[in-house]
Amino acid sequence: MNREPILQVDNLTKLYAAGKGCEEVSFDLYPGEVLGIVGESGSGKSTLLSCLSARLAPDQGDIHYLTRAAEWVNLYGLSESRQRQLQRTEWGIVHQHPRDGLRMGVSAGANIGERLMATGQRHYGNLRDTAQSWMSDVELDIARIDDKPTTYSGGMQQRLQIARNLVTHPRLVFMDEPTGGLDVSVQARLLDLLRQLVTEMNLAVVIVTHDLAVARLLAQRLIVMRHGRVVETGLTDQVLDDPQHAYTQLLVSSVLTS
């Protein structure tokens, strides 16, 4: 079993104003684990995710990450170039808006291949094969491999972004509402794909979502945030089936069921 965490977050605070941002957040994340962060808009979920993925320096607190080389590093003690290197080679960051995570000026195939090249792969045929195989995994038409993402629909762009991020077999993936703009059929396929990858690659994932059904199917553990603070945390099914905090009870009871 994975007794050692891959990420340790200690007393993290980043405030834009009182109650805006995230405050005093602490948790450990283990390999093979999906941690869901849920809460309403403006509860600080995305701020927290930006801090965790070395894109926004916190006001206070520490984040420690265990690298592929089995070395603990203090994230904000690293140089910017080392942070970017971790982002490119050990992590995946799936943005809420695919345009933020894709290179819109180059082809879909190049968007996937580029990440592989950053890890040292150069063989054109292999890059193209891998790109094709990932495109079909996320149910994109491989005939469109040479088209630019600008010609793709929003849902297709999101799937391309996920393929681009997972192709390098990251150890830790951050996702901000990754299934938000997708058709439900594609959403289901992606959830299944993500869960398989977590199991097979022992991936650790932090996923921000306001969709409790997505959280239930994907995350083993949940953090519920409100006004920048963690109000409840626990096993996903326990938090959703027997919520303790007033806010979580409201959140759970407000879900529409079909």
């Binding site: 079993m1 199991t199 239930r216 089936d241």
Partner: protein
Amino acid sequence: MQTMIEVQGLTKVFTLHNQGGIKLPVFDGIDFIAKQGECTVLFGESGSGKSTLLRSLYANYLPTSGSIAVRHRGEMTAITGAASQTLLEIRRETIGYVSQFLRVIPRVATLDVVAQPLRERGVNVATAHAKAAELLEQLHIPERLWSLPPGTFSGGEQQRVNIARGFIVDYPILLLDEPTASLDQRNAAVVVDLIRQARNRGTAVVGIFHDAEVRDAVADQIFHVNPARKADGLHTNEGVSA
């Protein structure tokens, strides 16, 4: 026989913060022990808290007070107050739970749904699929359905898929919430067989069975769940505790 589950002074009160903080007591001060190789049936009127108790044993519900310990990796280990990591490990290795409803990712094939608990324990695809196929066959799910997602199946078929998924791992502890509720006699008999086989392997089974025939066929001990005294005229109702 070794003790597998020990419950002491278990009390559950639901507090509904958004309904003026009213408190719904479910049960109060429950003590019981479940042993290796025995089937314990939770018995009581509707709303007595059987399901709540069963869910508490799986750490799906948080008890208000009291303690639950289970034998995990040979040692009695507290579930109440345990870290999430410990609970996840206990669920992966020690406790299986068959709920009344199948909750899975849409569009995933039935064979994969059933094989998943084995895959999560690191068993390879071929072995996991073979075991899944064996159980589905035993439970009379026709082979032509195995590649389809169970979402569109009938209630009875979904329940059998759920049962196959729960029995695919030889858990030391198995919790069953009305596993035969929507099954015909032929399939209920298969479930009775599966329960007996698990028990004979040494599994401690704890279950809720409304069907008296099934209950008589599997029960080694019956535990009566008595509802908490109704406080301030409030009723513990099934809608909350189920």
